[in-house]
Amino acid sequence: MRPFAVIEAAATGVEHVSKKAVWNCQMCGQCVLHSTGMTCPMNCPKTLRNGPCGGVRPDGGCEVKPEMRCVWLKGYERSQSMPLLPQGWRDHFNHLRPPLDNSLKGTSSWKNLLTKRDRQRPAGWKADEGH
């Protein structure tokens, strides 16, 4: 194994173990935790990336799993009130996030962040994330 491949495999393993424990990370490879109130949207049964669907129950329960609090409701509340969260990250909550890049599943989002691989968009995606 090449040295870089070893480092990459180790980093991916560390990322998976640590983020799984804290955020129940699903290793989508394109982490958006900072813009979702540090709440992993891949735990939404519909894997939505752009906020809560219209099925949230009056008590805040998930449409699909009523006993679970809506992932996006938690994310919204945390993005509003979590201490130490930079204002920019709070504002990111309303940004339009692109469709998931399914080819990145299982890869390290840390590596994809460093290499800017997670910034690649399909050529026809013109929606500005900053609006």
Binding site: G51, L96, G124
Partner: protein
């Protein structure tokens, strides 16, 4: 140009309706389903496997409507198909002249009668709006050109009554910024929630860019309300409402009265451009409601435009 596009541009009142689901029976079945709405609605939704039950497809019903000279709004949900299939449906329907589309995330498969299915959600409501906007601009999501571009009129939905209430108008704005020009709202039995949502939509500028249409449901009796409350994701019917219908001498009439009150309330709110009508009844309730709350017929409205101008 679609009638809906025309009305969006002129700022007229817009009344849309939900075509009851069609399974079989040919064009006659579509014609019959349309009959109660015919005089009143500018365009009708061809639903997409509504409540996660399989029916004649959104594309096929929209095309059937074109053949019957009914203006369709083709609903597109993200639950059953990936981005390839969804784009193919939109451009394929547009090939037949279906220009109005309404983008939804969609109820989960657990709401339907085949909960063993695989859920897809490759896109979500807001990204679907953005992808459709790309098609209307002349390119697939991949960047591959689409020439000439289909002249799509893109809409979306929002639920004013689902938590987090304070966020819902922001989500509506996200869809509008992605290209939605009309928003059909989920049925809402909480008047304060609808008021809060509309006030926020006005404040955020949603209503300047898109026609917001609250939904009014014409239900037949107390069972329909219980069904919506228990089985339909995103709709909650408060117990006092159910008690009111159940305790009435004629529940069917009381349900009609409730719908009229809701329609009048919705139309009184600043920023509301019209209504989306959903009838579970086979009688003339749609016509009676429109007459009661002062909605002119389609033809009458065509000659007297009113409302605020919407930038297109």
């Amino acid at each position: 140009m679609s009638v809906l596009a025309d009305k969006l541009a002129t700022g007229e009142q817009i009344i849309t309706g939900e075509l009851p689901v069609v399974d079989s029976g040919g064009l006659d079945a579509v014609r019959r389903a349309y009959e109660p709405y015919a005089q009143w609605c500018d365009a009708m939704n061809a639903t997409d496997n509504t409540a996660a039950h399989a029916h004649a497809s959104n594309v096929s019903v929209a095309i059937a409507m074109m053949r019957l000279e009914i203006e369709p709004i083709m609903q597109v949900v993200c639950r059953d198909k990936n981005r390839l299939a969804i784009q193919a449906d939109i451009v394929g329907a547009a090939l037949h002249g279906v220009e109005n589309i309404c983008c939804l995330t969609g109820d989960d498969i657990t709401a339907g009668d085949e909960p063993e299915s695989r859920r897809v959600f490759d896109l979500d409501g807001p990204t679907l709006v953005a992808v459709a906007s790309g098609l209307a601009r002349g390119e697939y999501l991949s960047g591959r050109p689409l020439d000439p571009p289909p002249p799509l009129v893109i809409g979306a939905v929002e639920n004013p009554g689902a938590p987090p209430l304070a966020y819902r108008a922001h989500r509506a704005l996200k869809k509008v910024l992605a290209g939605a020009r009309f928003l059909q709202l989920q049925i809402c039995y909480e008047e304060p929630a609808l008021e809060q949502f509309m006030a926020e939509c006005v404040r955020l500028g949603v209503t300047e860019k898109a026609a917001v249409l609250p939904s009014i449901c014409l239900a037949g009796g107390v069972r329909a309300f219980s069904f919506m409350n228990d089985e339909v994701p995103g709709i909650s019917v408060p117990q006092p409402v159910i008690d009111r219908i159940a305790g009435a001498q004629t529940p069917k009439e009381e349900a009609f009265e409730l719908a009229c009150e809701q329609a009048e309330h919705a139309l009184s709110l600043p920023g509301v451009r019209g209504l989306h009508l959903i009838s579970f009844r086979k009688d003339d309730a749609v016509a009676r409601l429109c007459e009661r709350v002062g909605i002119p017929t389609r033809q009458e409205r065509a000659s007297v435009g009113h409302g605020s101008h919407v930038t297109v």
